[in-house]
């Protein structure tokens, strides 16, 4: 048909059908519960009404589908090298995509599309949400022609060649750059993820408990034996046994999970990128490209510091949501030298902690207010006015308060932003101390934020957006923050650094 896409054109006319089924599906999903209820209650209503209602709905959807088909046009503006999609019946949207920003063009076919013989064409840019141009129904020849047209520019080809370095090639040369031994994994297993494993165990116990109760076999957990147990032994003894048992289980689970997941962790260097492979049961292998790295997080707690192990998490640029899981790479159990090697490889130099920025003490006050003052007030009000029995748990409240005071104090003390010429490092955490590193060139956008009562205090927050997530620093010296933002903007805008 037309190999010239310079004029706004519609989809294949049979595409109305795709639009119709699409809207029907959307409607069905949104109103599924209502329809079900309607059906069950319909005995009291006249069947005639029901059918009229259904026919009416289908008609309305058909009209909507037709109108959205009529209003959906796309074309390529040759003058400006843009791909433009117009859509919307009442609310209209015009999406403009620069041709050289297009990363991928996918031609797809669903079952319905296969039956009626049309194709869907999706245009992908580096933005992580899927709001970009999606054409639902065009013939195969048009799809191919459009794809060729869309990808017909030089910048794109470069991206492809650097992007799709085949995996087979990488496997050819194998000299290990880094190998994480059994002992390091053991160290990491012992010293990390307490909270997560504890939560897992708790949910596990609660589900079992709930299930037993639901089945109705309360005799399995006979309350009398438990009561007797509680009375015979002091409560303190019971609690300590419970906590000890929990710790043992957490340890065992943590160690085995770390060992199974990361067994035989190998990192090989290949043409500037890293190939990671690991796993006991099924071996995973991932490729890490330094230029795609957005945020590197180095995490270490007190024990790990003593044992000289640390964990590295690397966030890469994500081009679509489904790959999000793959974009996070974990390297458990390196020592400091290995960390430096990896960082050097990723950043081409060792990011050093530059000028330090501290948060205002109000950050500490605010978190104490939120997690201690508010709950405690609620607790006392509850005890005083509703149920005095609550005060029996007073020692628990004291323990809670102390625990959170310590957590917040250390969290506040560790909350720092380090700025140097090329990198920004944010340090945070109370027990596990995280150091998130980003390169200034990888920043996509910057947000500064200030609460109105902080205006005269010169306190404000900063959020740096990258393609791998955000990094924010709250309640710092606002004037300083703004000064750095101006500097970073200058640096980003004057250089054309490749951010992925």
């Amino acid at each position: 048909m037309e190999t010239n896409f310079n004029k706004p054109q519609r989809q294949s006319s049979i595409g109305v059908l795709v639009m119709f089924v699409d809207s029907l599906q959307k409607f069905g999903r949104a109103f599924f519960p209502i329809i079900i209820i309607y059906f069950f209650k319909s005995e009291s209503l006249s069947k005639l009404y029901l059918y009229f209602g259904l026919v009416g709905i289908v008609l309305v959807i058909a009209v909507i589908a037709y109108l959205s088909f009529i209003n959906f046009t796309f074309y390529i503006d040759d003058e400006n090298d843009e791909f433009i999609v117009n859509e919307g019946i009442i609310n209209k949207t015009k999406t403009t995509i620069q041709l050289n920003r297009i990363q991928q063009v996918n031609i797809q076919q669903s079952l319905l599309q296969r039956i009626i013989g049309v194709y869907a064409l999706n245009v992908d840019t580096a933005g992580s949400d899927n709001k970009e141009g999606n054409i639902k129904a065009i013939s195969h020849s048009v799809a191919l022609a459009l794809k060729a047209k869309l990808l017909n520019n030089e910048a794109r080809k470069e991206i492809i060649s650097s992007d799709e370095a085949p995996i087979e090639e990488v496997k050819s040369s194998d000299y290990p750059f880094l190998k994480i031994d059994f002992l390091s994994l053991l160290k990491v297993g012992i010293t990390s993820n307490y909270v997560r494993s504890f939560g897992l165990i708790l949910t596990f116990f609660f589900t079992i408990f709930e299930n037993l109760r639901n089945i109705g076999k309360e005799d399995l957990i006979d309350e009398r034996t438990i009561d007797g147990f509680v009375e015979n032994n002091s409560a303190f003894y019971l609690v300590s046994v419970f906590i000890l048992g929990m710790f043992c289980v957490v340890f065992v689970i943590n160690i085995s999970r770390t060992l199974i997941k990361y067994f035989n962790y190998n990192i090989t260097k290949q043409k500037g990128s890293l190939l990671l492979s690991y796993g006991l049961i099924n071996t995973q292998s991932t490729i890490l490209k330094p230029e795609k790295v957005q945020i590197v997080n180095i995490s270490r707690n007190f024990f790990q510091k003593k044992l000289n192990v640390l964990e590295i998490k690397i966030k890469q640029a994500i081009s679509d949501e489904s790959k999000q899981k793959k974009s996070l790479i974990e390297i458990p159990g390196c020592n400091e030298n290995e960390r430096d090697e990896i960082l050097k490889l990723i950043f081409k130099q060792l990011p050093e902690k530059g000028i330090m920025m501290k948060p205002n003490f109000r950050k500490l006050v605010f978190s104490i207010f939120l997690t201690i003052v508010l709950p405690l007030t609620g607790f006392f009000i509850f005890g005083k006015y509703i149920n005095a029995e609550a005060f029996e748990f007073l020692n628990l409240a004291v323990f809670y308060t102390l625990f959170f005071l310590i957590i917040h104090y250390f969290g506040f003390r560790n909350y720092r932003l380090y700025i140097n010429k090329n990198h920004i490092i944010k340090q945070s955490g109370a027990w596990d101390i995280d150091n998130e590193i980003i390169e200034i060139g990888k920043i996509q956008a910057i947000t500064t934020s200030q609460l109105f009562w902080h205006k005269n205090l010169n306190i404000g927050s900063l959020t740096l957006h990258t393609a791998g997530g955000n990094l924010s620093f709250q309640l710092g010296n606002y004037a300083k923050i703004k000064e750095y933002v101006n500097l970073w903007l200058y640096e980003i805008e004057t250089s054309n650094s490749n951010w992925m």
């Binding site: 400006n80 090298d81 843009e82 919307g88 009442i90 609310n91 209209k92 949207t93 015009k94 999406t95 403009t96 995509i97 620069q98 050289n100 920003r101 840019t125 580096a126 933005g127 992580s128 949400d129 709001k131 970009e132 910048a155 640029a317 994500i318 920043i443 996509q444 956008a445 910057i446 947000t447 500064t448 934020s449 200030q450 609460l451 109105f452 927050s461 959020t463 957006h465 990258t466 393609a467 997530g469 955000n470 703004k482 000064e483 933002v485 101006n486 500097l487 903007l489 200058y490 980003i492 805008e493 054309n496 951010w499 992925m500």
Partner: protein, 172 residues
């Protein structure tokens, strides 16, 4: 070959994003907001009246009380909308776009043009009636780092879009 210089940047001399004169949203956009909200609140009011008539227990409540609370909510929300409308402002500099928004906090977001992925122009039904459009600017950083500037006159929005597209091209 040109002589290579690498002088120290005086950070105090850099252009300051916080001192840029921002453009407020078109005053017709306030009307759009008003009408939108009026519609939503009328629907809520109608549903409430309907419920009040049809459910017997609800007659125990004094209608004046319910109405009073409703009015307070309406007024407060209009007040909040007004603040947020007043706060929204934008500016297009030579190398980046600045957008200010927020209610309790003042958020100022800056996107350099060389980080823009694509641009969209969105016209809501009411906005179109008033000749307004929304400019949406997307980066690779996900929805948190996208800017949506509503309430710009249609022609101006088109111009802005053209300007942005031109800037993107030049950057590459």
């Amino acid at each position: 070959m040109e002589e290579f210089t690498n002088e120290t940047i005086d950070t105090k001399q850099l252009p300051r994003f916080e001192e840029v004169q921002l453009t407020a949203l078109h005053k017709n956009y306030w009307k759009v907001l008003l009408i939108n909200n009026a519609i939503i609140f009328s629907i809520i009011a109608i549903v409430m009246i309907f419920l009040w008539i049809n459910i017997e227990d609800s007659q125990e409540f004094s209608p004046f009380w319910v109405f009073g609370v409703f009015l307070v909510i309406v007024n407060v929300s209009f007040f909040l909308y007004r603040i947020s409308f007043k706060k929204k402002a934008y500016a297009f500099r030579n190398h980046d776009v600045i957008y200010r928004s927020g209610l309790v906090a003042t958020n100022t977001m800056v996107i350099p043009y060389n980080r823009v992925q694509h641009v969209a122009l969105h016209e809501g039904f009411l906005s179109r009636y008033f000749g307004l459009a929304k400019v949406e600017i997307f980066t690779a950083g996900g929805s948190a780092s996208d800017i949506e500037i509503p309430g710009i006159a249609k022609e101006e929005a088109e111009n802005i879009k053209q300007l942005l597209m031109g800037k993107i091209q030049k950057q590459l």
